[in-house]
């Protein structure tokens, strides 16, 4: 295969036994959770070596979730932008409408294997909440999802979906009433009910082993995409593009390509309204290393170490910390991180809808907005592979409020 150059061997070994990706990651939790997270790390290691577990995971990913997802050559968008060939990894076509289901099936099976009768989760846009509620119904687990009050209002259809699936949705009115506060509340539930409850974290965030475990359940995206692009385009892509909230769809796409040194990677954060602290969620543009929700990573914070409020038109990107493996890829310069504004994301979403007949989630639209900027400056024989991580039905109200409909 072409471009099979190995980059720094450290990338393949991440994380170490303490959950460190270089200097980032680790495990910063109240003592009550320390032994449970150690048990979880052991449980995960045992499960992934268990052929029966892997077979069941594979069966559900294929027949329940709808894997493999297509890699689609977006020819009209390519033509419109007049540069690099654009391929979309269609995670939006999965059951429940986003890549989140990959991780939820994995962790749901793991929870069951570890004898936990109850799962809890946080959700921002509601996609992870819906995927968790779905898997809980599928596996017969009791389920509670924490969601910020503001997010419940702006992503109401997902709240109704979760309730229909038999999940209890708890409104979180503390702090900024968004994803960060939903995680705080989820952690409080977990520390209280840890004997029978698995915290089904939705991104490559939180204490070890979550960043590792969620990456392992999401790397199927890149594994498939790499094979598909080699088959259809007969070459590796020049550029991978994915949006980065916590960073699970982007790590999922990037991970298999890390050794392919010629493949550039760009993660796109939420630039929000402006780059003033509080107006965005561009952690690499405005954050500093710190500890939030159990991990050491880039965090938006003030000089006193208090976590800053964030803003994004996309609830799924509206979070002050980024997954620690992204911080490591940033530090090592293996991936590049940039941001696009609310307005650019909305515009890119309507462009894709009109050119390709695909309505993307506003999260994924951030990745597309970066493609819109870069593709025209690339040659026609170059390839961009973008992760279309979710579909946009949930965002119709936001399009309407933005005056696009």
């Amino acid at each position: 295969m072409p471009n099979q150059l190995n980059s720094s061997p450290a990338h393949g070994a991440w994380p170490d036994a303490r959950g460190r990706f270089g200097e980032f990651g680790g495990c910063f939790v109240p003592e009550t959770l320390m032994h449970p997270v150690e048990e979880l790390a052991e449980g995960f290691e045992a499960a992934r070596r268990d052929a029966a577990f892997q077979a069941e995971l594979d069966r559900l990913l294929r027949h329940f979730a709808g894997r493999p997802t297509p890699l689609y050559h977006a020819q009209r968008l390519t033509e419109h932008l007049g540069g690099a060939q654009i391929y979309l990894k269609r995670e939006d076509l999965l059951h429940t409408g986003a890549h989140k289901i990959n991780n939820c099936i994995g962790q749901g099976l793991l929870a069951k294997r570890m004898g936990k009768a109850r799962v809890i989760a946080e959700t921002g846009a509601g996609q992870h909440g819906v995927a968790t509620a779905t898997v809980a119904a599928l596996l017969g687990l009791d389920c509670t999802v924490y969601m910020g009050e503001e997010d419940m209002a702006r992503q109401a259809p997902n709240v109704f979906r979760m309730r229909l699936l038999g999940t209890q949705v708890v409104s979180v009115a503390s702090g900024s009433k968004t994803l960060k506060d939903a995680i705080n509340e989820g952690m409080r539930d977990w520390v209280t009910n840890v004997h029978n409850t698995h915290y089904l974290m939705g991104s490559v965030l939180g204490p070890h082993p979550y960043p590792l475990m969620v990456r392992e359940f999401q790397r199927i995206i890149g594994k498939e995409a790499r094979e598909q692009i080699l088959t259809t385009a007969r070459r590796l892509p020049n550029l991978l593009v994915a949006c980065v909230g916590g960073g699970s769809n982007s790590i999922g796409l990037f991970y298999e390509f890390i050794p392919d040194a010629a493949v550039k990677m760009v993660g796109v954060e939420a630039g929000g309204r402006s780059l003033r602290l509080g107006d965005h969620a561009a952690r690499f543009a405005g954050g500093k290393p710190g500890v939030l929700h159990g991990t050491y990573t880039y965090v938006l914070q003030n000089d006193d170490g208090l976590i800053a409020p964030t803003h994004s038109v996309s609830a799924g990107l509206d979070y002050p910390a980024v997954g620690p493996e992204h911080s490591a890829l940033y530090r090592e310069k293996r991936a590049e991180y940039t941001y696009v504004s609310d307005a650019e994301a909305l515009e890119a979403a309507s462009l894709l809808a009109r050119k390709e007949g695909i309505i993307p989630a506003l999260e994924s639209a951030h990745a597309l907005a970066e493609v819109v900027k870069r593709a025209p400056h690339m040659a026609r024989d170059q390839v961009i592979l973008v992760n279309l991580s979710g579909r946009g039905d949930k965002d119709l109200g936001i399009f309407q409020a933005a005056g696009i409909l």
Binding site: G26, F28, E31, T32, T192, G290, H293, Q301, D304, L306
Partner: protein, 273 residues
Amino acid sequence: MAATISKTRIDACFQGLRARGVKGLVVYLTAGDPSLEATGPILASVERGGADLIELGVPFSDPLADGPVIQRASERALRAGTCLRKILEWLPRWREQVKAPILLFTYYNPLLRYGLRAFSADARRAGADGALVVDLTPEEAEVYVSAMREENLDTVFLGAPTTPDDRLARVAALSTGFFYLISRTGVTGERAEIAASAGPLVARARKATALPLAVGFGISRPEHVQQVQSLADAAVVGSAVVHAIEERYGAAGPAAIEAFIRWLKTGEGAKSE
């Protein structure tokens, strides 16, 4: 890292209690709730009411180990502009008037932002006696512990009902001053009764360490305090005190807080004085 430190005010406090044959009362309050100006008189009243040791909470934007009462206190303190730097600048003005040891109770990120060595140096200068970092366990605490040892400040760590015996010994080994036991799995907050998990945890901790043992989380009434004192060396009361500050300080001032602490300690006087 295992190096011992010379005798601290916290050590002296527990030795004094032991010498008198009594058990201790540890009181938590959030610094800056409702303002740092108010926290000074409240500290003094907490001591007059009978607190043997004071845990001074550093308010944080995301207090994920705390229940609603301390969350609200953090929000009030943050709204009043409280931060770690201001607490360490303010504390020396009150240190002379309060004799009880003061343990800073904080989340990790404010310390990290402040700088661990700058924190320990400034905390010692301010008259603090140690710290408890609620989301920092020994695995990640090496630099913090050595910075604290350098300033002869105590590092209190937590043991929980979910902590296995071998881990309990490892955590206690890094703890100095006393070992703080969490009576139940859960967040801070008032409860109707002491958790059944408290007794077995104290018994396991006794085997793991010779340190004085304090038990907290959910201890809200004089009978709880007595029950815990019959098991361990000290009882920690947090949310109930913070709740009293929330409800009474505005109308009745420090005297109401002093009376509340005395009620907790002795069972005497009305709770709602």
